[in-house]
């Protein structure tokens, strides 16, 4: 596993420069699709952006990334093609801050995403006598993201979306 974090070149912290004009922080990592590795990565994402992004936006980002990456881990194929040694899917995660929010791109070599994950969906039916214990993940992802798009190319999934800033952040008044 390799991992890297790049900060924007020439970030001039604390000058109060308007977000639109300063170099944008980014985060890039390659990780195995394992719940503990996902956890560590989320903690590093939080550290990377917490100085410049509100707790509310970071909370929404963390939840969506957890749902997406843990899905890859949970649905990891148990066999490898061509008798190769089975391995955990490898996720590439990239997050870039832009003026309206955090743009995220994830690719992985895990199982193909079922079509209905991307179709507009509501909450699982709530029956008093048998409440659903799952089926919330993609609802949350769809609810919290903008410009969600997905395609599969050969053995890799590509998923991209944006986590919008709160109105206050978008206006450049981050606390």
């Amino acid at each position: 596993m390799t991992s890297s974090e790049r900060s924007g070149i020439g970030v001039d912290a604390g000058t109060g420069a308007r977000p639109a004009t300063r170099t944008q922080p980014m985060f890039h990592r390659v990780l195995s699709a394992h719940p503990m590795t996902v956890r560590d990565t989320l903690s590093d994402v939080r550290l990377r952006f917490r100085a410049e992004v509100s707790d509310d936006t970071l909370g929404r980002l963390e939840l969506v990334l957890a749902e997406v990456m843990n899905n890859v881990a949970e649905h990891a194929p148990l066999t490898a093609p061509d008798d190769a040694e089975p391995h955990l899917p490898v996720i590439h995660l990239c997050i870039v801050r832009h003026s309206g929010g955090l743009a995220c791109a994830l690719t992985d070599d895990g199982a193909s995403l079922p079509d209905d994950c991307l179709l507009p969906r509501g909450l699982p039916p709530m029956l008093a006598e048998d409440m659903p214990e799952g089926g919330f993940g993609w609802f949350l992802i769809q609810d919290l993201t903008q410009a969600l798009c997905y395609y599969r190319e050969e053995s890799r999934n590509y998923l991209a979306f944006s986590i919008p800033f709160t109105q206050r952040e978008a206006e450049g008044t981050t606390a």
Partner: protein, 120 residues
């Protein structure tokens, strides 16, 4: 995984000490908590103040625990942090669970028979 369990005359106070209820521990969380609450037939007050993060698998674990209790037995979730509250709210599960703000500081009327124990 650790829960602080206080068994009072009237109900069971359980404090969650785990900062994250996510896919890495959801199953263990569900099993341990169920083990503590099932069969006690007392209202359960679950203090969630220490939980910074919960995802849909954590929510599923909470729902499973709720379902393991008879409907007449109360399960109250106390002191949700904003990230945890968001998951309950967006999934409308805030209408299924009894969610309340943090309890005020303990007062003198608390029964002296309370037993505190730590469960690993």
């Amino acid at each position: 995984m650790q829960f602080i369990v206080e068994d009072t005359d009237s109900h069971l106070n359980i404090t969650v000490t785990e900062p994250r209820i996510d896919a890495a521990i959801a199953t263990l969380f569900k099993d341990k908590l169920r083990e503590i609450v099932v069969g006690r037939r007392k209202p359960v007050h679950l203090d969630m103040a220490a939980v910074d993060f919960m995802d849909s698998s954590g929510l599923g674990a909470m729902i499973a625990v709720r379902k393991s209790l008879p409907e007449t037995v109360e399960l109250v979730l106390l002191a949700l942090t904003p990230n945890v509250e968001r998951v309950f709210r967006l999934t409308r599960m805030d209408s299924v669970f009894d969610i309340r703000p943090a309890v005020p500081a303990p007062h003198a009327s608390r029964p002296h028979t309370a037993q505190k124990e730590q469960r690993e």
